[in-house]
């Protein structure tokens, strides 16, 4: 079972990231669950969202305390939160940041880091700082959990009006993110 924890702020779309990833995995025939940290649905407030992916039915329904992967949608969260808390040995951290992965490797003290300038891409492609889909692109570059086409399909179903923009932003994230592992 792979456990992924998303750190964001209300309104950035962390919950949507978790959901789209799970739905893509389910469509590929896997078992997956996704859910938010309950009760913090306020714009700007720190938000957690979780995705689990497995080959078998997922019976564990607690929050994720020992993730395999952490995705950080907002770099300011790293100052106030220990985003890598409980991260498994050799776990991966994916960060929306302008700084290089080497910096965060040192700063957070983990081996595997993937960085992407998600807010920059979001402003250029979407015109709003919503980075959820872009972060999925970076995540998939570092860890191919599902085929990118499955995410693109979900984007088209869920955001039909801005699907082309979202898909372009998603593709850019796959191309432009930097990974060290």
């Amino acid at each position: 079972m792979i456990e992924i924890r998303f750190h964001g702020r209300g309104g950035q779309g962390a919950v949507t990231s978790a959901e789209i990833l799970a739905q893509a995995a389910i469509e590929e025939g896997e078992y997956a669950t996704a859910f938010p940290s309950f009760g913090s649905e306020r714009r700007g407030a720190p938000v957690l969202a979780f995705t689990r992916i497995d080959k078998e039915q997922i019976k564990l329904r607690t929050g994720i305390y020992q993730p395999d992967i952490v995705v950080v949608l907002d770099p300011t969260l790293i100052e106030s939160h220990n985003v890598a808390e409980g991260l498994k040995k050799n776990g991966l951290v994916v960060i929306n940041t302008k700084k290089p992965p080497e910096f965060w490797k040192e700063e957070i003290g983990v081996n595997r880091v993937c960085t992407v300038k998600a807010t920059v891409i979001a402003m250029q492609e979407l015109g709003v700082p919503i980075t959820n889909i872009i972060m999925l692109g970076a995540l998939l570059k570092a860890e191919p959990l599902v085929r990118p086409e499955m995410i693109e399909k979900r984007i088209r179903e869920r955001f039909p009006h801005i699907a082309e923009k979202e898909v372009r932003a998603f593709d850019r994230a796959i191309n432009e993110s930097r990974v060290i592992q």
Partner: protein, 392 residues
């Protein structure tokens, strides 16, 4: 053919209500509500569901409108949770005593105070004795299936009682997971049209809810209790037919590795599935443990429970609510009284956990089994109230 899809459990329940072709939905749209009625409102507005969506000014009225609609001969649906159910309470009793087959989706959440919108079972325990058929769904698939089956049970003329389908608030309501959803064609005809023996029809006037003078009230209550007690055979019949037709099996009492278990952990709701993980772990260590669930809460499945735990040495009952100053868990009290008449019966001890959204970790379940083994060894019961996962 049914298709497997990743869907929020609340939306799967809304889909089931649509496919049940509900005619009246009445609901009050405030916290604690779920996406169930939000989605149904959208379906009605978009013309995807031909139903009246009644927006009301309180949960009390939500249930009143559902009861009224049902008396008028309409298939009625509502959904609520915690404080909403508490406010509805008066009419919850009326729905069952008026024998209206309303179906309610109940997202189990805690009752205030302190103010909490998170999951536990204190809301449903508050209406335990309200005369509704009450069934727990442990995952999204079950919530979807049971919502459909609920109408089949409720509207059967041998039953004619309201049914509440319970599922854990947030833990299921806000969970995206795989659910096999029927295609409309496949499920069409599963439910025959709702055809109550009496309805509020100006051509054939009937008085519903007359005064029950002392000469009548006792007989009316006996009649009501007889109806819910005998509904268990219809419920089993609906479960069996569903299995035959669609392949998914439901039982009044579920169990896992319980046949030869010395210690059984008995619970309700989504945690039952999670207990299986702890059972697997402990079995690997050679411990003979199992788990069970009272899925059918009302009518209480006495015989099924006795069979499921007959061979165990001790049953550890996990309560998700407290009966303050009492049993101390509502489930514990039920299990003890159900097993009491047996000559050879397992020991029954109780623990409480998962109040107001507190996660129950796998280690916590292991701890609960430990209480069972400790009781076997020493005969010592955990004191009331023993809460696993409490800071002390």
């Amino acid at each position: 053919m049914a298709h497997r899809t990743g869907i929020e459990v609340s939306l799967a329940i809304a889909e089931a209500a649509r496919q049940a072709e509900v005619e009246v939905i009445s609901a009050y749209p405030i916290t604690p509500q779920t996406h169930i009625v939000e989605r149904l409102a959208k379906m009605v507005a978009d013309g995807d569901l031909e139903a009246d969506f009644i927006t009301v000014e309180s949960e009390h009225t939500a249930m009143s409108a559902a009861v009224g609609a049902s008396l008028a001969g309409a298939r009625a649906f509502t959904a609520t949770s915690s404080q909403g159910l508490a406010l509805m309470d008066e009419i919850v009793y009326l729905a069952s005593s008026l024998r209206t087959p309303v179906v309610m989706a109940l997202a189990n959440r805690s009752l205030s105070g302190p103010i909490s919108i998170w999951n536990d079972h204190s809301d449903i325990m508050n209406v335990r004795d309200a005369g509704w058929i009450s069934i727990f769904a442990n995952n999204g698939q079950e919530a979807y299936d049971l919502t459909l089956m609920a109408y089949k049970i409720a509207e059967d003329h041998r039953v004619l009682l309201p049914v509440m389908i319970s599922f854990d608030g947030f833990i299921l309501t806000h969970m995206i997971e795989p659910v096999c959803v029927f295609d409309d064609e496949e499920i069409k005809g599963y439910l025959p049209p709702f055809n109550p023996p009496y309805k509020a029809d100006p051509e054939h006037p009937v008085t519903f809810g007359p005064v029950g003078v002392p000469d009548i009230y006792t007989e009316a209550k006996k009649q009501q209790d007889f109806a819910i007690r005998s509904s268990i055979s219809v419920i089993k019949e609906v479960f069996a037919d569903f299995e035959k037709e669609f392949g998914r099996k439901y039982k009044p009492v579920e169990s896992y590795m319980a046949e030869d278990a010395d210690v059984i952990l008995l619970s309700q709701g989504s945690v039952y599935e999670t207990t299986e993980i702890a059972v697997d772990r402990l079995r690997k260590e050679g411990k003979k443990v199992g788990s069970a669930e009272v899925r059918l809460w009302r009518p209480f499945p006495f015989e099924d429970l006795r069979k499921a735990v007959a061979n165990a040495k001790v049953v550890v009952v996990l309560d998700r609510a407290i009966s303050f100053g009492g049993q101390p868990g509502p489930l514990l009290g039920e299990i003890r009284s159900a097993l009491y008449p047996l000559e050879k019966k397992p020991g029954v001890i109780g623990v409480t956990a998962g109040l107001g959204g507190r996660d129950i970790m796998i280690q916590d379940y292991e701890k609960m089994f430990e209480y069972g083994y400790n009781y076997l060894k020493t005969g010592k019961e955990p004191e009331a109230v023993t809460i696993v996962g409490l800071r002390e």
